[in-house]
């Protein structure tokens, strides 16, 4: 299908997302991903550890594993939407990082993202597209943090690529 092969201008795409984000804000709350990922973590941990998970207060007091948590369906929806988009445009294919240093960077990066999200309660999506537009002071702190972090990350990334 030719229509699906055309790349959409990101500015147009994100303005549409912005309008949908306002709709979601009225229904449940603005677009966020970190909380849903935490809930998926909790459900996986519950699946592996069973009742032993209750010994970790975080999963009792703060994130009691449940399937009825709306933020989780945002992660699944994005995965589904992207999969449909990739299949329709024939862009779906398995991509596997080839070099060991890529795997090491991805692993460390993933860990840092997980710890960072929980430490701040917010992920990059809620920073830029939920709380900063709500003029939340935490949003300004988070934007400063992520810019500083991306700068340090870019520096490391460049060093690794040059090595």
């Amino acid at each position: 299908m030719e229509f699906f092969k055309k790349t959409i201008d990101p500015v147009v795409a994100m303005v549409i997302v912005g309008l949908l984000d306002i709709f979601l804000f009225l229904v449940v709350g603005a677009w966020t991903v970190g909380g849903g990922e935490t809930m998926i973590t909790g459900l996986i941990a519950k699946g592996i550890l069973g009742h032993r998970l209750d010994r970790i207060p975080f999963w009792v007091q703060d994130f009691k594993p449940t399937f009825a948590y709306w933020k989780m369906y945002i992660s699944l929806g994005m995965f589904f939407g992207a999969f449909v988009g990739a299949v329709l445009s024939k862009e779906f294919y398995w991509r596997v990082p080839r070099h060991l240093n890529e795997w090491v960077m991805i692993t460390i990066g993933g860990l840092l993202m997980g710890v960072g999200i929980r430490l701040a309660f917010i992920c990059n999506v809620s920073t830029f597209f939920a709380i900063t537009p709500q003029i939340n002071l935490g949003g300004y702190l988070a934007v400063s943090g992520i810019i500083a972090g991306a700068w340090v990350g870019s520096w490391i990334y460049k060093k690794v690529l040059e090595a």
Binding site: A13, E37, S75, G81, V115
Partner: protein, 231 residues
């Protein structure tokens, strides 16, 4: 109706499916919006990010003025800076943020699936730390009052600003949107200037090539030979 969980879940899933589709088709990436701007001075994604922020700011603050919508309420603290600092390093190393990791996984990228897996591991490790330290206060234990000893500053957003100053939230929204639009405009101007500079350089190179050709023709040297020599 709004509090019916099934309805919320369906709305979230529908919203996210459209977002995932649009992100995949537009190749938008939040990581690239910051990284490419810093490393390569490429602002394609940065502009899209700013556009979304402008739309969101106007929409959210307009509805917050009349008390509609579901703003995120949580305690502001220094942990937001530290957490997102770590996150910023992590997303550049992993080459994907929370959104693009799901979108790229949907495209069949095994590397980002691995990143998501380790995000889960990181979150689980944090849950162990939190269960020992109880800091920063997570949503269930938040008091919503400033606690300077715990490095927490209380709640602050457009709604609290409206309550404390009496100025409608949309006014703050308009100011913020204007600042974001100014940054957007600056990027557009920078892009135009670099494009112009590139076009000028190309025109200059073409003129030089023409002169060389003319010289080569004048001294009777075939142009092809000269090019081969240059290579």
């Amino acid at each position: 109706m709004h509090n019916d969980p099934t309805y919320q879940l369906l709305a979230s899933f529908f919203f996210a499916s459209v977002v995932g589709f649009l992100m995949q088709r537009s190749r938008f990436c939040n990581t690239a919006a910051l990284r490419d701007a810093m490393l390569f001075k490429n602002y394609r994604n940065t502009k899209a990010m700013l556009a979304l922020m402008i739309v969101g700011t106007l929409g959210f603050t307009a509805f917050m003025t009349v008390g509609a919508g579901h703003p995120i309420v949580f305690e502001v603290g220094i942990n937001q800076f530290i957490g997102l600092f770590l996150f910023g390093i992590g997303m550049v190393l992993a080459g994907a943020c929370t959104v693009s990791s799901w979108v790229k996984s949907g495209e069949g990228n095994v590397g980002t699936m691995w990143a998501v897996l380790f995000t889960f591991v990181g979150m689980f490790l944090f849950s162990l730390y939190w269960s020992a330290a109880y800091w920063p206060p997570a949503s269930a234990t938040m008091s919503q009052v400033p606690n300077l000893k715990g490095l927490q500053l209380g709640v602050a957003n457009a709604a609290t600003l409206q309550r404390q100053t009496g100025i409608p939230a949309i006014v703050f929204g308009l100011i913020q949107a204007a600042v974001l639009a100014a940054i957007y405009y600056k990027i557009v101007r920078y892009e135009r200037a670099t494009e112009q500079a590139r076009a000028d350089a190309q025109a200059r190179a073409a003129a030089v090539a023409q002169t060389e050709e003319a010289t080569a023709a004048a001294i009777g040297m075939p142009r092809g030979k000269q090019t081969a020599g240059n290579l």
